[in-house]
């Protein structure tokens, strides 16, 4: 009997264990590459894992649904992980109180700028509604961004990809951009990185200083909350306004 690799793969690919195992292996491979590369943003573990998995799935002719049979066990944890964001939020409450007014105004400005800039740029570049809805929450941490995108008629997986690319870009250009703009306060630098580039921005801010890291981490949850509330509201207002305008 000859071993037909193709037949073996067809059998294995249909088993949930394969998708789950591939996901964990690809991610840990990404973490390893990130470490050896000297923590380059371009070697972000999520980016590496996603690219590697897409390449594997295309090379073996496996569809996403078969892969997701196994990967859904990882994906499911996004829900409880989002709830768990309440814990770091709670830990930072003392710092929030210390600069409550500046933090609140900067956060709302940042959340609104993030939403409005994405929608306007996408609209100017002639993107259709579903793409605009997927891009609108791009600066927010993935579990929240995906949920919000779904609520306003976007594609959660497209949002997830755009959020990751946004995070990597923000983390890579952030520190030099902020310095060139004359933003020196560690609180402001941290908040800016967290509001615009979520978790990946926070990792970069932590390398800069503890204060920047703390404010960036805080911004992940708060901008998520602000965008989760503001974006669907803006969406419903726009829809209502459009319906009223159109008679």
């Amino acid at each position: 009997m000859t071993l037909d690799i193709q037949q073996i793969w067809v059998y294995l690919a249909a088993r949930p264990l394969t998708g789950l195992l591939l996901t964990l292996l690809a991610y840990q491979g990404g973490v390893w590459l990130y470490r050896v590369s000297g923590q380059r943003a371009i070697c972000n573990p999520v980016l590496i894992a996603v690219l590697a998995l897409i390449a594997i799935l295309f090379a073996t002719g496996t569809d996403y649904a078969s892969y997701f049979e196994g990967a859904q066990f990882v994906h499911f944890l996004l829900g409880p992980a989002t709830v768990a964001l309440a814990v770091p939020l709670y830990r930072q409450l003392q710092r929030v109180r210390q600069s409550l007014r500046a933090l609140t105004i900067a956060l709302i400005c940042g959340a609104l700028t993030g939403i409005v800039s994405a929608v306007v740029i996408a609209w100017l570049l002639r993107a259709p509604g579903v793409v605009i809805a997927s891009l609108a929450p791009k600066s927010v941490t993935t579990p929240i961004a995906m949920g919000v995108a779904e609520r306003v008629g976007g594609l959660p997986s497209l949002t997830a990809a755009v959020v990751i690319v946004t995070g990597i870009f923000g983390a890579a250009v952030g520190p030099s951009l902020l310095s060139r703009a004359g933003i020196k306060s560690p609180q402001a630098r941290g908040l800016a990185m967290g509001v615009s580039a979520h978790g990946i921005g926070t990792a970069r801010a932590l390398e800069e200083s503890q204060i920047a890291g703390a404010f960036s981490g805080l911004a992940i949850g708060l901008n998520g909350l602000a965008t989760a509330i503001l974006l669907p509201l803006l969406y419903q207002l726009t829809l209502a306004g459009w319906q009223w305008f159109a008679g």
Binding site: V50, L89, A102, A106, A181, S209
Partner: protein
């Protein structure tokens, strides 16, 4: 450990329920986050086991993005068609958002209790 994981899932479930009942355009897990935050405020302290469960989940938060990220392979068509808005929003949108947030925060900040590094 199991008790706090159950409470996290209960908060998410209640959040999903609240969203379904009220028709609010906010994700259920985000409402669950708010419920847990209110619970912690009422408790007045962070139970160490809850901290351990939350830290454990959030420590590998990046990993949880991967399956959805791979899902982008289903949208390669729309990406090829819409590469200009995608690129424009990621680059320009991120720069504008970062600068706006940083400027407003630095401008309004009055607490100089902590020295710059």
């Amino acid at each position: 450990m199991l008790r706090w994981l159950t409470i996290l899932l209960l908060c998410q479930w209640l959040g999903e329920l609240a969203v379904t009942v009220s028709g609010l355009a906010v994700p259920g897990p985000v409402v669950g986050m708010l419920l847990l935050l209110i619970g912690l405020l009422m408790l007045g302290q962070e139970p160490s086991e809850l901290g351990a469960v939350a830290d454990g989940l959030l420590q590998h938060l990046s990993l949880l993005f991967v399956p959805a990220g791979v899902g982008v392979m289903q949208h390669l068509g729309i990406i090829r068609l819409q590469w200009a808005p995608l690129l424009g929003v990621v680059i320009l949108g991120t720069i504008i958002t970062m600068l706006a947030t940083g400027w407003v925060m630095q401008w309004l900040q009055t607490d100089s209790d902590e020295p710059a590094p």
